[in-house]
């Protein structure tokens, strides 16, 4: 195996081209099998009874009438699952605590949100299962609830967890609180920074929770044998982490649970954590029949995802020349019913785009009576950056400095000290800003009354545990087993391309397969934009391992020293200048005789991938604001992003476009609406309105490629950055069009009208 996986600038045959995706034909013909498409003989249908209350103590649960209903085979409640101690584990960007995981999948002492599971039923039909849910009697003691993050932080607010004392505060507080944790990042001297400023701007922002909105609801099918062997088909971003989580809450060995990650109908961070899977396994364990559980869209909205809503305050100071002297943020994030929001990432991303001397960021992770938040594409960053990039826009405009120039004056570059720890390596923020400034969109004339906004975003990207196996078939075709789920971005295509590039064979000779966890060593969940970066690294390492073995085999067959054998253009041939001649052998020729010359050949990678390269994006947007209705129309949108290297540019463009449109929905339409009773009022796509095709214009993309020095092809990862800038870019464009700055998301017609009216009133 080649020792180095550093970036090599070399001519490429396949990487950077646009072949058809290997999973494409299945997806355009209806063949692709998603979790809800799997069925087994004798299967039962499982359904979940959910809390109708935002907050209540469970006095008792009586399932006897439900069990007596014909067709009902089993019911599980809190009594069927062991309590779990506090134990933290990584699951995507967010950390989970098994004490809370077991309580979120099935309420124990209390229900903590509308939609919290209380019982689950398995029956011979969907209608019998639904009828059974109505027969379960739950005696609730309804408790006062709290939905708003600011209210939840007040002393005397209804407490979700009576034993929760704010962590990160010294000395330990004497009273329990909904503030689960306080985090803080400091760099330099924030007060000195404000003293050095000619201009100081402070603003407060509020955002609402939004849902990942994957079109495929969570679904799973579980089968448990009499001797405790489990098979599970599920829609997941991480088959290994789902296996681990199910094993922990059911107290089983991971090796007893075989998970098949099905085709996944979107995740965006929302399928990093188990929901119905352990319930389906537990119901199958009771009945020894397969149990299939498919969520309704209403259940998806009420009980999975969403991301945090937040209240944030940003204060920044700069010199009259536009150099930032101080950057301060307070971020109050709803975590939902259990602690563990994305506030740490939000805090780290708030100002990381800029080379700053004085920074102070405080974050609070706050429990409220809403579903436990899940990761959502660059978790937390769009929220805090909404505030920071709005204030930066305001500073630039007040000083009469072009907003891109303002960012260039402060832009982070290689060696910039972050306020959360590391110094930044090779990054492409300045290059991306310069490309934005030179883009025709930025200088295009703007009709009167319309506005243009700019914003930018940063995301870390991650590596982590990754394993892959590359099997050389007996005919020389190749199967790549990847354990990092292709969450739809096209990483199967990208990995097949990198493997074909390494082996020197056509891409259609490489079949990428998302393997189940019994086939490979541990793979971390596909999160943090790691799929093509880390999964690709493992694929390359496995391919290089295979090449090494192919060389050895050729040397053995041809009876020449190993050093005399080079691998080039898909074959073993005499190394240049080695002075040894032999007849070259193609991969297929070696494969054909492999069995008889020492056995099959496979390459392996069992690695923990390091060296992720941060990604930076800049968005430009033009809007028209209807002064009578408050409707904001997106007229033109351009995304520029440094992705390191676009292995398959069409799918990279797809990431940039899809992320931007999710961000547009976040900015303009989407929000969770709760009634005074703490019940979610819009758990459906009619009233929770994600962008449709006619809401958005063409999303133009510019791929910037500043290679990541720590990846053989320079890949950084690209999926998350594009959702970060839209909220602030659109707010900045609305300000440019109307002179009114919106600080509350979503910037829906009523809010825009109200803000315009308020500004006009103040003007009078």
């Amino acid at each position: 195996m080649s020792a180095s996986t550093k970036y090599e600038d070399k001519p490429l045959r396949i990487v950077g081209t646009r072949p058809l995706r290997p999973d494409g034909v299945d997806k355009v013909t209806g063949r692709a099998r998603y979790a809800a498409d799997y069925n087994l003989p004798g299967q039962l249908i499982g359904k979940v009874l959910r809390s109708p209350h935002a907050h209540a103590r469970i006095r008792s649960i009586d399932v006897s009438a439900a069990l007596a209903l014909p067709g009902v085979k089993a019911v599980v409640t809190r009594d069927d699952f062991p309590d779990m101690p506090v134990e933290y584990a990584a699951a995507g960007e967010l950390t989970i605590n098994y004490r809370d995981v077991t309580r979120n999948m099935m309420a124990r002492e209390k229900v903590l949100y509308d939609g919290h599971p209380v019982a689950a039923v398995a029956a011979t039909s969907e209608s019998a299962a639904r009828a059974a849910l109505k027969l379960i009697k739950v005696d609730y003691e309804v408790l006062p609830h709290v939905i708003d993050v600011r209210e939840a932080m007040q002393p005397g607010a209804p407490l979700l967890h009576e034993e929760q004392y704010t962590a990160g505060v010294s000395p330990r507080p004497g009273q329990p609180s909904n503030i689960a944790k306080r985090i803080e990042f400091k760099l330099g001297d924030i007060e000195a920074g404000f003293r050095a400023a000619d201009l100081v701007i402070e603003r407060e922002f509020n955002t609402k929770p939004v849902h990942q909105g994957y079109i495929e609801p969570q679904a799973c099918l579980a089968s448990c044998t009499e001797d405790g062997q489990v098979e599970l088909w599920t829609s997941t971003q991480g088959a290994f982490t789902y296996r681990e989580q199910c094993a922990r809450v059911l107290q089983m060995d991971v090796s007893r649970i075989r998970v098949t990650p099905t085709e996944i109908g979107g995740g965006f961070g929302g399928k990093n954590n188990i929901y119905s899977e352990p319930l389906a396994i537990a119901l199958s364990r009771k009945t020894h029949r397969p149990v299939k559980m498919v969520m309704t869209r209403e259940e998806v909205f009420r009980a999975t995802g969403p991301t945090s809503g937040a209240n944030i305050r940003i204060k920044m100071g700069c010199t009259r020349n536009g150099r930032i002297t101080a950057a301060q943020a307070v971020l109050n994030f709803q975590s939902g019913a259990f602690p563990g929001s994305s506030v740490p990432m939000a805090a780290m991303c708030t100002f990381t785009r800029y080379d700053l001397e004085n920074v102070h960021v405080v974050g609070h992770d706050v429990t409220v009576n809403r579903p436990k938040v899940a990761a959502y594409r660059a978790p937390g960053a769009p929220i805090s950056v909404f505030g920071a990039e709005s204030v930066i826009d305001e500073m630039a405009k007040k000083l009469g400095i072009d907003p891109i120039d303002f960012r260039l004056k402060n832009a982070a570059t290689q060696g910039t000290q972050t306020y959360y720890g590391p110094k930044l390596g090779v990054i492409g923020y300045i290059e991306t800003l310069e490309r934005a400034k030179a883009h025709p969109h930025y200088s295009a004339p703007l009709a009167p009354g319309r506005g243009r906004g700019v914003s930018s975003g940063f995301w870390f990207n991650i590596g982590n545990e990754t394993c892959s196996t590359l099997n050389i078939g007996e005919d020389g075709s190749v199967t790549l087993l990847m354990g990092t789920v292709d969450v739809a971005g096209g990483s199967r295509a990208a990995m097949a391309m990198m493997v074909a590039e390494e082996l020197g064979i056509p891409m259609d000779k490489v079949k990428p397969v998302v393997a189940d966890p019994s086939a490979l060593g541990f793979n971390f969940v596909t999160a943090g934009s790691r799929g093509t970066f880390a999964g690709g690294m493992a694929a390359v390492v496995a391919a290089r391992d295979a090449v090494e073995k192919l060389r050895r085999r050729a040397a053995k067959i041809r009876e020449v020293p190993l050093e005399a054998v080079a691998w080039k253009d898909g074959r073993a041939q005499p190394a240049e200048g080695c002075g040894v001649q032999f007849a070259p052998m193609t991969l297929a020729e070696i494969a054909k005789v492999a069995g008889k010359t020492g056995g099959s050949i496979a390459g392996h990678a069992e690695i923990n991938v390091q060296g992720a390269g941060p990604g930076f994006g800049v968005h430009i947007v033009d809007v028209d604001v209807d002064r009578e209705t408050g409707l904001v129309k997106i007229l033109r949108y351009t995304v520029l992003q440094d992705v390191g290297k676009a292995v398959h540019p069409a799918y990279v463009e797809g990431q940039l476009q899809g992320g931007a449109v999710q961000g547009i929905g976040w900015a303009l339409n989407e929000e969770y609406v709760y009634g005074a009773d703490g019940v979610l009022q819009n758990p459906g796509f009619l009233d929770y309105r994600v962008p449709v095709a006619s809401d958005v214009p063409s999303i133009d993309t510019v791929i910037v490629e500043v290679p990541n020095p720590n990846h053989p092809y320079g890949v950084r990862g690209c999926g998350e950055v594009p959702i970060i800038p839209p909220m602030s870019a659109i707010a900045n464009a609305i300000e440019s069009a109307t002179g009114v700055r919106l600080c509350d998301q979503p910037m829906s017609p009523p809010r825009v009208l109200q803000a315009i009216g308020k500004a006009a009133g103040a003007g009078n």
Binding site: R21, K27, Y34, F268, G684, A693, S694
Partner: protein, 158 residues
């Protein structure tokens, strides 16, 4: 519970099935006929993932009862490719990278085919408004619109 006996054609083939009164056409397609290419994204007619045509009319199969299919001609994604060849829309979706997770793709293809059958030369705006009943959360719609316009061009022989 008494079940209803229904006969219909699906993708040109005669089918018969038994269904409960409240079962939707979508549930019948997926659970009784095992045609799982048609997807359920919401069950309330808001996402378009379950789009099919019934006697030529585009609709959400989650909003129609299985018993209402009696005597009707239903077309689903499974019948879109003809013989060994993909439909031009299917091919253009692949060429334009117009799909990612693919769960909305069957519904969008069915809807797009309906559009091109009634309007072979749609503008970009017409494509966007026609597909406004089909949610896609991955692509941002750009490449879908490009693929539909390119397929229309090819089907017109332009």
């Amino acid at each position: 519970m008494a079940r209803h006996h229904v006969t219909a054609t699906v993708n040109g083939e005669a089918v018969e099935f038994l269904c409960e009164t409240q079962q939707t056409l979508l549930e019948v397609l997926r659970d009784e006929l095992r045609l799982t290419g048609t997807k359920e994204g919401c069950g309330t007619g808001d996402c378009g993932a379950c789009s099919v045509t019934v006697d030529g009319r585009l609709l959400c199969s989650c909003l129609m009862l299985g018993v209402e299919a009696q005597g009707k001609a239903i077309r689903t994604i499974e019948g879109m490719a003809g013989g060994e060849k993909l439909h031009p829309l299917q091919r253009k979706f692949l060429e334009h990278a117009a799909l990612q997770c693919g769960v909305c793709t069957p519904g969008i293809l069915i809807a797009a085919r309906s559009l091109l059958e009634s309007n072979p030369d749609p503008s970009e705006a017409e494509v966007r408004y026609w597909l406004a009943g089909n949610l896609c959360r991955c692509t941002g719609y750009q490449k879908i619109v490009e693929a539909v316009l390119d397929a229309a061009r090819e089907m017109r022989g332009a």
